[in-house]
Amino acid sequence: MNALAVKAYDLRQDVLDIIVSGGGGHIGGDMSSMEIVLTLYSRMNVSPEKPKDPDRDRFVLSKGHCVETLYAVLADRGFLDIGEVKSRFSKFGSEYIGHPHNTLPGIEMNSGSLGHGLSVCVGMALAGRMDRRSYRVYTLMGDGELAEGSVWEAAMAAGHYGLDNLCAVIDRNHLQISGNTEDVMGHHDLHARFASFDWHVIDVADGNDVDQLNAAFDEAEGTKGRPTVLIANTVKGRGSPIMENKAGWHHHLPSAEEYERIKADLCARKEALLHE
C-alpha cells in the first residue's frame, strides 16, 4: 500500500467538494492529473515557511483550469487552508478563482490561457542555470493544449539550450472538451515529436500510478544535457466510473445524486488501496 496513492483519493474528495461548493470546475482533468501533481509535490523542494526561497523547485500548472487539484495539493502541503478554499472558491470577491493566481502562496505564475507554461519554465530554467542554482522546474500540460503553437516554440528552445533542469509532464488522458484528442487535432506519435526536439521522452504507462511516476521523475533527474518530458497516460475523470473517460465530464458540475455516487466510488477505491 502506497500512502500517496491513498491520499490521492482523499484529495479527490477535496476537489469534488471545492467544485460543488463553487458551482463549477474542471473535474475531468482534475481527476486525471491528481497523482501527477501530488507525486511532484511530494518530491519538490518547496515549503510554506519559505515560499520565496530562491533555491526552491518551481512548478507551473500550464493547464491552469485544473486548479482545483492544485488547491487540494497545496493545502495538503500547508500552503493553503482547505476549509477556506472550499468555502470561498469562485465566490464573489474571492482570491480562489478558477485558474492559478500568484498572489496565493505557493503559486508561481498566473495561467489559464493554454500554451504559456512551458515557455515560462524555459525562462525559469535559464535563470537557474545563469545563477548556478540547482533547483528543478516542472510544468504540467494537457494533451489538448499541445495544439497551441507556442508549446512547440518552447519545446524548441528547451531542446536548443539543453535544459536538463526542466521536466514537462503531459496529462495524456486522450480527451478534450470536444471529444477524443486524436479526432479534434491528432498528436500522432507524441514520443517521436518531442524526441525530434532533442528531449528525453519517458512514456509512463499508467500516469495515475505514483510508483511509475516516481520512477519517471527519478529518471528525469538523472538525465543530463536534455530536458525531459513524461507522457503520462491517465484516465480523465479517474475515480468514479460515471465520469471516467467521458469528455462530457471535462467541466461537468455533478448533481447531488452524482456527488453521492462519486463520493462512494472514491471511498471504495481508497478502501481497495488500503487493503492491497
Binding site: R58, S119, V120, V122, M124, G128, M130, A157
Partner: protein, 312 residues
Amino acid sequence: MNKIANRAVMCEVLKEAAAKDRDVVVLCSDSRGSASLTSFAETFPEQFVEVGIAEQNLVSIAAGLASCGKKAFAVSPASFISTRSYEQCKVDCAYSDTNVKLVGISGGVSYGALGMTHHSAQDIAAMSAIPGMRVYLPSDRHQTRKLFEALLTDRQTAYIRLGRNPVEDTYEEGNVPFEMNRATVLAEGTDVLLVACGEMVRPVKDAAEILNREGISSGALDMYCVKPLDREGLLEAAKGKKFIVTAEEHAPFGGLGSMVAQVIAANDPKRVINLALPDAPVITGTSAEVFAHYGLTGEGIAKTVRDAWSRL
C-alpha cells in the same frame, strides 16, 4: 543632424547596467541587429538569450526569468511584440506581475516601405488597454537614456516603443529635464496647447516655435509617458487654452489623442484635434516622407493650428 538612434542609446545604457548587475538580462528574437544589441550580446553572452523568430516564446521566457529575479528586457520589432505576443504581455508580464520590460523597436512606420506587416500603429492602444502595463514613447536619444536608467530601477512591467532611425534632438546634452511619469514642458504659451509623444515630439516643438513667432502663443508638452498619462501636467498646461492639438505616430483610435481627449472632456472641456496616421494602411515611404504626407511635421502641425485658430 544627430546620427545616434534611440535604440543604440538603449544598448549603451543596458551595457552599463549589465556590467554592474548580473541580473540584467536581454532577450531577442533574431532581432539583435535591428535592436542595436549585437555588442551587448558579444560583451555579455551569459546575460543574453536568443530565442529565434518566436515572439510569443520571447515574452514568456522573459517572464520566467523575471519571476526568478532577473531584470528582463525583451526586445523585438514593435509590430510583433505588441500584437503577436499580446496575450503573453497581458498574462505573463502584467497579470503575473513580472519585471519584464517589453521594448518595441522600429516602432510606428520606421520600417517604411516594408508595409503594414512591419508597422506598429496599434501598439499604444493595445498595450495601454492591459491593466498594469505602462507605455512609454521617448522622443530623443537624451530622453531615451533617462527613461531606461529610470526603468532599470523599478520592478514593474512596461512597454517602450523606440523608432529605428536617428531623430533630431529635442533636448540638449546635459540639460534634459526628466521626471518619471511626468510630462516635460517644451514650451509655455497662452493660446493653444500641443501634445505629442515619441517621434512627434520634435515636430511639435518646431510647430510651437513657428506659431509663437507668428503670434499664436503655443504651449507644448512631451507626453512620453502615455500610460500612466500625466493628468495633472496635462490639465495644468491646458488651463486657459482655446484648443489642444495632439500628434502621434499611431492609428487615430486608442492612442495619445484619445487619452488626452478623455481627460480634457471630463475635466476642462474644449476642442481636441488629433493628428495621427490614417485608419488605413499608410502610404509607402520613409518615415520623413510618410510624416510629411499626413501633415505630421512642424509646418504641418502649425498649419492645423493656424486653420483652427482662424475659425475661432
